[in-house]
């Protein structure tokens, strides 16, 4: 294994060695959401006909975990190695900015999907969703994790301290995932907030992902795919540019 594949391997090994923290913990968090929201809202909320609230909740929780963990992976790896100084071992290598991009985003996708499978395996026990169109599930999971892994690269390059990183996570990533329709269908919102939700790219990731399970969604999965694909290209272009100029990592 050589070149960017080594960096990808190292980044996967990095989270795998602490998988109790990086995989098991987020699965537990999702289970807690499932237990509490599922229990409280089961008999009160009806999102789509024929689909129980707990079943509706499963894909949302899975996708939320995929997204948050994909972001956390590249972001925390970069910030940590910047602060510890061990990023120098990668900075001294001949690896190109594309190698960095594929390795950091690739490992983030790997962690996102791994956590997603874990969350699904546990939460599906509460309310079994169907697999209406599995290919959509895979496409949206990979693209969503890719976008968040890329955002993690951008945030990881930008942040100089752990608290800046935490601010990005708490004030940008968390609100956008929570307000994307994980716990509800945006059709249940007043018209104004429906409009706002349509501006949130995270909404399309979750809506398209959920379509793969139920075959119903708030907007067409093709529209979601178009928007999610476009966002991925945009954030990737920015991340690759920052890596190429060595933004905040080469003086």
């Amino acid at each position: 294994m050589t070149g960017w594949r080594t960096l990808l391997y190292k980044e996967v090994l990095r989270f795998w060695k602490v998988s109790f923290q990086t995989v098991a913990a987020p699965v537990l968090t999702a289970v807690l959401y499932m237990l509490i929201f599922g229990h409280v809202l089961q008999d009160r909320v009806k999102v789509y006909d024929q689909i129980s609230y707990t079943a509706f909740l499963v894909p949302g929780l899975v996708m939320m975990s995929v997204l948050q963990n994909a972001f956390a992976n590249s972001a925390s790896s970069l910030v940590q190695s910047k602060i510890m100084g061990s990023l120098v071992f990668v900075l001294l290598t001949p690896l190109s900015h594309w190698s960095w991009f594929f390795a950091y985003v690739g490992s983030s996708i790997a962690r996102g999907l791994l956590v997603g499978v874990g969350v699904f395996a546990v939460t599906a026990w509460f309310g079994q969703p169907s697999f209406n169109a599995p290919l959509w599930i895979v496409i949206f999971a990979v693209l969503g994790a890719g976008i968040l892994g890329t955002l993690g690269v951008i945030a990881g390059l930008w942040a100089e301290k752990f608290d800046q990183m935490a601010a990005f996570q708490n004030f940008v990533i968390m609100p956008m995932t929570f307000l994307s329709g994980v716990f509800y269908s945006i059709h249940s919102l007043p018209a104004f907030w429906q409009g706002v939700s349509h501006l949130n790219p995270f909404f399309y990731m979750i809506d398209g992902f959920r379509y793969g399970f139920f075959g119903v969604s708030d907007v067409s999965p093709w529209l979601s795919l178009g928007i999610v694909g476009m966002v991925f290209l945009l954030v990737s272009a920015l991340a690759v540019h920052l890596l190429r100029i060595g933004y905040k990592i080469r003086g």
């Binding site: 050589t2 061990s86 071992f89 001294l92």
Partner: protein
Amino acid sequence: MPAISFQSVSKIYPSGRNGPLKALDGVSFDIREGEFFGLLGPNGAGKTTLISILAGLARPTSGRVTVRGHDVQADYAQARRQLGVVPQELVFDPFFNVREALRIQSGYFGVKNNEAWIDELLHSLGLADKADANMRQLSGGMKRRMLVAQALVHKPPVIVLDEPTAGVDVELRQTLWQFVARLNKEGSTVLLTTHYLEEAEALCGRIAMLKSGRVVALERTSELLKAASSNVLRFKMDSALPVEFEDKARVTGRIVQLPAHDAHEIERYLAIIRKAGLRVEDVEVRKADLEDVFLDVMAKHGEQVAV
């Protein structure tokens, strides 16, 4: 083709404490293949900035650096393949053990099946019994050796050591210098920055001295030593320094050292001591060393520096 070529390298940091800071100011010199080259200078002279630009960790504001003909910016991948850099800071990746870290580092450089060389590195640097230890468990000295091993894992023809012996015990310094001297003998070019002037004197064939971002001396080590006053009169004394010595003497606690070109000058110093009726002990005359040269050169280019 030189192993390393610095061509009018300048670096200005836009936000220094007192406005823009000129860390390097038109630095130019070449290091030939196979040389053991020393880069000396007081703290803040620009040594680490120069090495960072060479290694691609920083970019020059103007000027150009090549490694065996490869521009460190335009052709960075080839340039970095030629370089093995031992960073000054004691850094490590806490997720891996010694052997894993070396395998990963090999992979970054595209080196496959590197086990034989990894074993040799571990053996030569006294890390063989730590191969399976996590990086966190290593002592400071062990981590320092590991930095050397990581820098050499892809068998670079040009080795850069940025103050590798700062805060390192005598035994490790010996191991390290034996190993680096062997690699140099086998053809590797070595660029060393150090605070230990006796190390530079013993190891380096040629030396550049930096001061405030400029090259103030660039000479064969033997020439540098020849150019300095050949002898030093050294003695211990409790009383105040006579005024005649004030601008010449180097004082460290009770120890006074005076550079002298010939026997007459020594006699003159002794006469001054006698006339002032000073009590001195442990009087000796020794040959000037690189430290004397260093202080001499630095003094000629501005204020006194601490060593």
